[in-house]
């Protein structure tokens, strides 16, 4: 059954899928840093969705939906309109190309991101292991 994108249930499913992925574990074995995935309003989505993931050495240690950006101070922030996140999760848009063309914005230690681009790709792959229902 499809899980609605951006809900508490969805972030937990994504976290669980990440912890099951050997490919992610390998690609992100040196990754240190928690992050926000911020979904900007678009279409019927009227309010920002903020998803928090604590990713550390290939594992997802915690994940939750956050109401206010000020609630946590993650090392990385990725933000884009809903349509871009959807294209990435539907494999219509390469996440690295999305970052290079400025469609997916990010803030954080770029040197670390540059050293682990495969981790980004594998993280997306984890999120594809379960069915997602997007807000229209």
């Amino acid at each position: 059954m499809a899980i609605r994108y951006g809900t508490e249930e969805w972030v937990k499913a994504a976290c669980e899928a990440t912890n099951k992925s050997q490919a992610y574990k390998e690609a992100a074995k040196n990754w240190e840093g928690d992050m926000y995935f911020i979904v900007e309003p678009e279409g019927t989505l009227k309010e920002k969705i903020i998803m928090y993931f604590d990713l550390y050495h290939g594992e997802c240690r915690a994940a939750s939906v956050v109401k206010d950006e000020a609630e946590k101070t993650p090392a990385y922030r990725f933000w884009a309109p809903l349509g871009i996140w959807r294209q990435i999760l539907e494999k219509k848009l390469d996440p690295v190309q999305a970052m290079m063309t400025g469609k997916l914005n990010l803030k954080g230690d770029m040197a670390q991101i540059m050293r682990m681009p495969k981790a980004a790709v594998e993280l997306v792959n984890c999120m594809l292991t379960f069915e997602t229902e997007f807000p229209e």
Partner: protein, 387 residues
């Protein structure tokens, strides 16, 4: 949405005279001592002086340049404040110059932080001219720079589109001094850029034609340039091919051969072109079916028959091994003279470095860590990939 970026390219004999048309006051020439000895730097200075541009020379770029060298150059640039930065040399020199140029423009950004996701903005202080003296890296046309992080014994890839040189001067006279070994290595670099760019996951319509043409030129002219360095036609064609492949691959990226070569080069200081050329046939075999139609397209472009019922990947891999052998290049890591013990002791580092390389992201079939280790072992022994 995607971009296609390229510098102004001035090519052919006497292309160097483009320097005499520049407007400015001071040029900062980035080079190495060998280029000075060969008289190339004097030729550049002469053209610049015709334009009324004075020049100052930084000739301390080493092979596989380090971030520290780039920082030293930046310090010199900041002292003299040029309006042109002119790189004269091979890939190492041009990559170092790109780093210096970026650091001069944006002193608030560390070189190791320059990444494809954060634009630096256009150059306002000094424009960058690259004059290649090898026919290989295509660095005169690309925004990427490979620099050594000495403390970590690895090479890192940095850059963003704004690091693309403003002008590439592709004058074959500057390639004539290459000895046969260097001609071969750099030629294999061109081929690897072209084959990997044509088959990467980011391949695109704008790059494809350039890359296929570069492959054809390499097969036709590399053996000639290798056998007779004074063969002007072959030199010119290979010099053009390097730049063409550079423009092509920087817009479509490379793949596994580059990831492994960066890793090997960082640990054992194998020249870049030699390393990528060595890994190329194994990469084709490993990617195999994931790009079968494209291997066949390449085979067709170089008039290599793929019999009905046969796969193109092993045929193309074998064809490339034959070319490499014809120009005296090694076909295994063992042939590089790296002892088995040293290789075994460094294998974990080699795998780790390769797994962190950006080029793995654009590989049509990317290996996991276990497969990467096996891949390195096969390449060490010169054994065709069968997994």
């Amino acid at each position: 949405m995607w971009y296609f970026v390229a510098p102004e390219v001035v090519y052919g004999r006497d292309a160097i005279t483009r320097l005499s048309q520049l407007q400015g006051k001071l040029a900062f020439i980035v080079t190495d001592t060998n280029m000075v000895k060969l008289g190339f730097v004097d030729k550049v200075k002469e053209q610049l002086s015709q334009a009324g541009i004075e020049s100052t020379v930084f000739d301390a770029v080493e092979p596989d340049p380090s971030v520290e060298t780039v920082e030293k150059g930046m310090a010199e640039i900041n002292k003299c404040k040029p309006d042109w930065i002119v790189a004269v040399g091979g890939g190492s020199v041009m990559d170092a110059a790109k780093g210096m140029s970026a650091g001069y423009e944006r002193p608030d950004v560390r070189v190791e932080e320059i990444n494809p996701f954060t634009p630096l903005g256009p150059r306002t202080k000094a424009k960058l001219v690259c004059i290649p003296t090898t026919s290989g890296t295509g660095a005169e046309a690309t925004w990427g720079m490979v620099l050594t992080i000495t403390a970590e014994r690895r090479k890192g890839s940095f850059g963003c589109r704004d690091c693309t040189p403003d002008i590439a001067i592709v004058d074959p006279e500057f390639a004539l001094a290459m000895p046969p070994g260097l001609t071969a290595q750099t030629g294999m670099d061109v081929l690897t850029h072209a084959v990997e760019g044509f088959t990467s996951t980011w391949k695109n319509d704008f790059s494809d034609g350039l890359l296929l043409r570069a492959i054809q030129i390499v097969f036709q002219y590399l053996p000639r340039a290798y056998k007779n360095g004074q063969d002007w036609e072959a030199r010119e064609k290979m010099h053009n091919a390097a730049c063409i492949a550079g423009i092509g691959f920087i817009n479509s990226m490379c793949a596994l051969a580059h990831a492994c070569a960066h890793s090997l080069g960082g640990v054992f200081h194998v020249p870049h072109g030699r390393a990528v050329g060595l890994f190329l046939p194994y990469t084709i075999e490993f990617i195999g079916d994931a790009r079968e139609e494209l291997w066949a397209e390449i085979a067709y472009a170089i008039k290599r028959d793929v019999p009905v019922g046969k796969k193109a990947a092993p045929i193309l891999a074998q064809t490339i091994r034959e070319l490499a052998r014809n120009v005296g290049e090694p076909l295994s890591i063992k042939e590089l003279g790296i002892p088995q013990d040293d290789f075994d002791n460094s294998l974990a580092k080699l795998v780790d470095n390769a797994m962190m390389d950006f080029q793995l992201v654009t590989t049509a079939r990317a290996p996991n860590a276990e497969e990467t280790e096996k891949f390195f072992r096969y390449v060490y022994d010169g054994k065709s990939i069968d997994f």
